[in-house]
Symmetry: C2
Subunit: 331 residues, 2 copies
């Protein structure tokens, strides 16, 4: 067990440090600024696992040539409200941000817009693109496939991805944003538990012997996550992979390298839908009020994100000391 | 424990019996024929829980005026590829079938089509509309909200719905169709276990004392299902309800009557996406081949449906004797 030591870093310090590191890679200045902002925002929002904690690996993948910092997505085919784009192995968060932005434009024109993206890289925090859609006043739905890191129902082989899914609804008093892998715990959540020296609260994967376990290090070793709802999450993962790969004309999970530093050419889908802002707010407020009246401390999806954002802006952003040392060396 | 006695009934006998019952309700002949076909098809496909087993309740809801057999959905608003329809409390399976048919037409024109449907009734087997989309050569995604029948994470109140979700991919050698409630077990699956006198294989809901239980009768009594993946299925259910109610301008789960015979005015979403048939088949075949090579008997979503269909067409459709007696009295 290794206890985590956490520092509190200001948003500006975090952003500047990330930007300085990116500037050394040859990334164009406007793209580097957006990339640094997306990583800093995720960390500020309490999702360091998919923000600054992933940044050293992102830089490694730039150096090794897996991520091409100068690539921008290219339109491959358009059918009205449905478009297919090639991510050209550019930075995953920039490609995803561009794709949701394009889906939002399509939704303004067609009511609904769908952008399918092939050949992209890890999008870091998926919720980013949900908040992006909700900030633009539309419903956003997006998902990505991953390398094989989860076991299908009835098997102990890692043959499906945990394919994170994001659904976002705009709401003036706080967007409602679900950001979840279809495994019981995301890869980042497993790592965070290991860093904190804590077991998972329930079984999250299989150990070397194929037994369900709460030990995060054992799951990181096997890369065998368990799906939510066992047979149900297993089926959902297969469908998200299939729909993503087919719409994008890209790779499916079984074709994606399981080495985290070579996991690339992912397929993703970004959907945006127009809503009437006032009507949406009325409905969302009523649903959330009903949830909040439950026995127990029920939260709506995205509620803790807003709380973390407020706290971290005021007090500084918590970052693991070892991670921060590593990131500062990248400048 | 009450053991189930099952008969084998021919498709034609089942269809004729359902049609005769519907003809007595004043439903127009073409609508009655489609309605009987959808119920018979679901039963033939091995999903009696959402087919013939629900038919007596459907007839009760027609007699009580909850379901209006002559209502057809009406267009409320159109924004290109996104349309909003009013189901006018018509038969839920006909409304859903019409809505997916309309989404398929929109997808042919715009690449993607999205139909949101308010004021509808229980759609019986959700997978029906996935098979419908796949038969038309498109990807289909649809979901419905329900009455509050599931507990949100951290609460023991039934304040969210188990909102079934369907995702379908066309494939010449067998469509890939996921049809799942976001509870660990659907209401129909719980009932089927009770009819067979069997406990659930894992906890599926809360008992009167708020404890997790495998006893289907206890869960039917409390109407407190557990979500897949606990906090994850809880969040997913909230989002499906919100997006459905907002796009349709319809009711959300908390506004829907929990009495199964008065559960009405549901909100549903139907999405269709164009695909290149040959490319889609190549990708789906490769994903499924990889799954089938796993250790363990891994099935793809929809695989058992095709097996059941083949067997039941050959041997007759298995129907609980008590259900069949009840349905025959409705003619």
């Amino acid at each position: 067990m290794s206890a985590e030591r956490r520092l509190r870093v200001s948003y500006q310090d975090l952003f500047d440090t990330l930007l300085a590191a990116l500037a050394r890679t040859g990334m164009e200045p406007d793209r580097a600024a957006l990339c640094a902002k997306l990583v800093a925002d995720a960390t500020r929002d309490g999702v360091a696992s998919h923000g600054v904690n992933r940044f050293p690996r992102f830089m490694t993948m730039i150096r090794s040539g897996v991520v091409d910092v100068r690539a921008r997505p290219a339109l491959v085919a358009a059918h009205g409200a449905l478009e297919r784009w090639d991510g050209r192995r550019g930075p995953g968060n920039l490609n995803a941000h561009d794709s949701m932005a394009r889906a939002i434009v399509l939704a303004a024109e067609h009511g609904v817009g769908c952008v399918a993206l092939a050949n992209t890289n890890h999008w870091m925090r998926g919720g980013t693109y949900g908040w992006q859609a909700a900030d633009a006043g539309v419903i956003g739905i997006c998902w990505t496939n991953t390398c094989p890191n989860m076991v299908p129902w009835r098997s102990s082989d890692a043959r499906i991805g945990n394919n994170p899914l994001v659904i976002a609804v705009p709401r003036p008093s706080g967007h409602v944003v679900l950001d979840m892998a279809v495994s019981q715990f995301s890869v980042g959540a497993v790592t965070m538990h290991r860093l904190r020296g804590e077991p998972l609260p329930i079984d999250g994967g299989l150990d070397e012997a194929g037994r369900p376990t709460r030990d995060p290090a054992a799951i990181e070793a096997t890369k065998k996550l368990l799906p939510i709802g066992l047979w149900k999450g297993s089926g959902l993962a297969v469908m998200l992979d299939l729909v993503g790969a087919i719409l994008a004309g890209g790779l499916a999970t079984h074709q994606i390298d399981s080495d985290p530093e070579r996991e690339t050419s992912l397929s993703q889908v970004f959907i945006a839908c127009r809503v009437d802002a006032r009507e949406a707010a009325t409905i969302a407020d009523a649903v959330i009020a009903y949830l909040h009246e439950s026995t127990g401390a029920v939260r709506y999806p995205g509620e803790r994100t807003l709380e973390a954002r407020t706290k971290n802006v005021a007090e500084g952003i918590p970052i693991d000391e070892r991670v921060w040392d590593e990131v500062r060396k990248l400048r």
